[in-house]
Each structure stands twice: as structure tokens, then as C-alpha cells.
């Protein structure tokens, strides 16, 4: 099966299939290799399937040169290491290190910005949500959006997108 084409054509169904097919073997591998409990292994495997999906979407993965389970184990391996490093750090220091303080603050600020944007996007209405998602996330051009969402032409989409951006700006400002 060409998993990459499948993900591109039918992402949700394929991800569920991948998840069900490889969940037991990959989590068993994680539990054995890194002595993780089942819950942690499962959570890491979920992240791992999502990572595989984003790699396909962002064209970081265009050809699978090995079996999919080998690829998933590769991602899980790195994720397990990062997970254990984080856990060790948390148990060693129960207060944030001063040298990382700025970094932590910046990250927190960025996170709250994303949360604010998410809230505002949800208040935008389906029409604007679709236009902005298709343009900025799916990277469709105006012509493709006009065909997908049944707009009159690309210029109409462009004008509408501009209005949506301005509306989003207002919503963000209002929620701040």
C-alpha cells in the first residue's frame, strides 16, 4: 500500500488505519525498549502518527524508503528519548532554571497568542475559517479556493479573505 498517497487522498481514514494497524506492535516496542507504561506509550504513539501525517503534508516525507512500521518506530524512538529527558529534568529541578527563564517566558507568551488566535478563529464563522484555512494552512491559491468553496472568481475570494483578516484582527484585539 502506498501510505503517502493514501494520506494525501483520505487523511482521516488512513490515519485511523495506520493507528489501528501499528498501535500494538509499536507501543509494545516502546514499553520494552524504554520501560514506559502503556498509557505513556499510547500517548507517544498518537503523537507519532500525527507527526507522520504532518511530514507528509509538509512534503518532508515524499517517499517511504522502509516499511511504515520501521518509520513509525524511528519517530517514536526520538519521541521517547525527548519524553524521558523532559521527565528527568522535571524530577531533578522542581523550579525553572534561571538561564532558561527568558526562553520559558517567550514560549508562554507565544502559547497564549496561539490560544487567543484559536479562540478568535472559532468566532469567525465557517466562511472565513474555510478561506483562511485553505489559503494559509492548505496553501491553496485563490483560484483553487474559489472552485472549492464555490465563489464567483479568485478576486472575490481575495476581497473576502482581506475582510476575514481584518475581522480576525478585530476579534483578537477584542479578546486581549
Amino acid at each position: 500500500m502506498d501510505w503517502i498517497t493514501e494520506v494525501k487522498n483520505n487523511e482521516n481514514e488512513t490515519l485511523c488505519l495506520v493507528y489501528k494497524k501499528y498501535r500494538n506492535s509499536v507501543t509494545a516496542w516502546m514499553m520494552k525498549t524504554y520501560k514506559l507504561n502503556h498509557e505513556d506509550a499510547l500517548e507517544i504513539f498518537q503523537q507519532c502518527v500525527i507527526q507522520f501525517y504532518h511530514n507528509v503534508r509538509e512534503k518532508k516525507l515524499t517517499v517511504l524508503t522502509c516499511k511504515l512500521d520501521t518509520y513509525l518506530i524511528g519517530i517514536s524512538n526520538n519521541m521517547c528519548k525527548a519524553f524521558l529527558r523532559k521527565r528527568k529534568l522535571r524530577s531533578t529541578y522542581d523550579f525553572p532554571l534561571l538561564i532558561h527563564q527568558n526562553e520559558i517566558e517567550e514560549k508562554e507568551e507565544q502559547e497564549s497568542k496561539y490560544a487567543l488566535l484559536e479562540k478568535s478563529i472559532q468566532k469567525l464563522g465557517e466562511n472565513c475559517q474555510n478561506i483562511l484555512r485553505l489559503f494559509y494552512y492548505e496553501r491553496y491559491n485563490m483560484e483553487q479556493i474559489s472552485l472549492t468553496l464555490n465563489f464567483k472568481n479568485a478576486n472575490t475570494v481575495k476581497t473576502q479573505k482581506y475582510k476575514c483578516i481584518k475581522r480576525l484582527q478585530k476579534l483578537v484585539a477584542g479578546l486581549k
Binding site: C16, Y19, I50, Y53, Y114, N141, N150, F151, Q169
Partner: protein, 233 residues
């Protein structure tokens, strides 16, 4: 808007990495509309997070569905007939409920509000009511949109009235309105949306008939109807 066009070109896949970097250095600061490239990248990242969250929920649901599966308990032979009858009853009911669940999830998966309305403006005396209706529809206030569309007697307005009714879960009324405008231009995906309403009402036969009648010229809806038919069957 000119500056936004320039910033948007960063998201154009045709730009090389070098061109993107050049654009980044030129637009590192705020431009006229108070929109920066960083703002737009943040929008992209937020959509990525929303997508990730939805997909994680979907995977977690797979686990919880499996966990909630019933376990098999051994039974004695004297109770076989009673148990078999109960199982048949339960299967009958679960088939009914699962079918309803399946139709609901298909509806959720394939339904998206029809949005080709940005440039529609009325030309006659009905202007106020129609424009107001479109405004309500765009802002997602479907109850008020329906009331305003109801006042305008033309097929397009009635089509949007039917769509508004769908959004407020009034599927039978929506179907009734759509039946009244069967001769509307082929550009309007009336069969597709009518099919969705029938699906929501669990009338698979009628839904299938509508999805089969989606004209080929409506490429996008034709493909979606085909995908839906595949899933229904």
C-alpha cells in the same frame, strides 16, 4: 491590501527559499494594515494546532470505542434460546442506533455551509431584506437569516433559506423549501444539500437518490456525493 498581497506571496509554493528569505527581511516589521508576516505565520500555525488537536481526538476516540466494547461471558446451555432471542433484539436495536450514528457522522463529515455569497447583492426593491439576510447568513446567525430570506420570493433567496434551515436543524422544512425550487439554475448544489438533509433524517433511500442526481458540472459536489454514496453503501 497591496502589502497583504506581498506578504501572502510568502505562502505561495512557487517561491524559492531565497525569495522567501528576501521577503522575510523586507517585511520583518509592521506594514500599513498592521499585519506582519509573523501574524500570518501565526495564523498558519494556529490552524496546524487545530488540525492536530482534531486528529488526536479522533485517534483517542478509536481507543475509547474499543474499550467500551462488551466482553464475552460464558453461558449455560439451558439459557441458549433466551440469550439468542435477547441477542437478536439487541442486534436489531443496535443496528438502528448505529445506523443513525453513522448517518450523523457522515452528515458532519460532508456538510459545510455553502459560502459562495460574497458578491451577491439584490438589485430591486427587495434590497434591504436580501442584503440583511446575506449579512446574517455570513455571520452565522442562521435563524435571522432564514426569517429574512423567507421574505424574498426568488429561487436563490429560497435556496439560502433552505440552507439556513439546515443550519438550525430544521431538515424537513429545508427539504420542503428545496422541493419548491427544483428548477433553480444548475449552478446551485441543491441535490447535494437536499441529500444531506435526508441523510440527517435517516432517509437513506431518498438521500441516495439525491446524491445520484448531483450533476457532473458541479465537479466539487459531484465528487463529494460520489464519496458519500460509497460510504452509504
Amino acid at each position: 491590501m497591496k502589502n497583504l498581497d506581498l506578504l501572502d506571496s510568502w505562502f505561495n509554493v512557487k517561491l524559492s527559499d531565497h525569495q522567501k528569505k528576501k521577503l522575510e527581511s523586507e517585511f520583518i516589521n509592521t506594514v500599513d494594515d498592521h499585519i506582519t508576516l509573523k501574524d500570518l505565520k501565526d495564523i498558519e500555525e494556529t490552524f496546524k494546532r487545530i488540525d492536530t488537536k482534531n486528529k488526536l481526538t479522533m485517534l483517542k476516540e478509536l481507543d475509547s470505542k474499543e474499550k467500551s466494547r462488551p466482553t464475552i461471558v460464558p453461558i449455560t446451555s439451558s439459557k441458549y434460546i433466551l440469550v439468542a432471542a435477547s441477542v437478536l433484539l439487541i442486534l436489531g436495536f443496535s443496528w438502528l442506533f448505529m445506523n443513525e450514528d453513522n448517518n450523523n457522522s457522515l452528515y458532519t463529515e460532508f456538510h459545510e455551509p455553502y459560502s459562495s455569497i460574497a458578491n451577491k447583492r439584490s438589485m430591486d426593491s427587495q434590497k434591504n431584506s436580501l442584503d440583511q439576510a446575506y449579512e446574517y447568513y455570513l455571520s452565522g446567525d442562521y435563524q435571522l437569516a432564514e426569517e429574512h430570506f423567507a421574505e424574498v420570493q426568488n429561487d436563490t433567496a429560497q435556496f439560502y433559506r433552505a440552507l439556513s434551515l439546515m443550519e438550525i436543524n430544521e431538515h424537513q422544512r429545508s427539504i420542503d423549501v428545496m422541493i419548491g425550487i427544483q428548477n433553480i439554475s444548475e449552478n446551485y448544489p441543491i441535490q447535494f444539500y437536499k441529500g444531506l438533509s435526508y441523510l440527517k433524517l435517516n432517509d437513506i433511500k431518498a438521500a441516495t437518490k439525491e446524491f445520484r442526481e448531483v450533476p457532473k458540472v458541479q465537479t466539487y459536489y459531484f465528487k463529494r456525493a460520489a464519496a458519500l454514496l460509497k460510504k452509504i453503501q
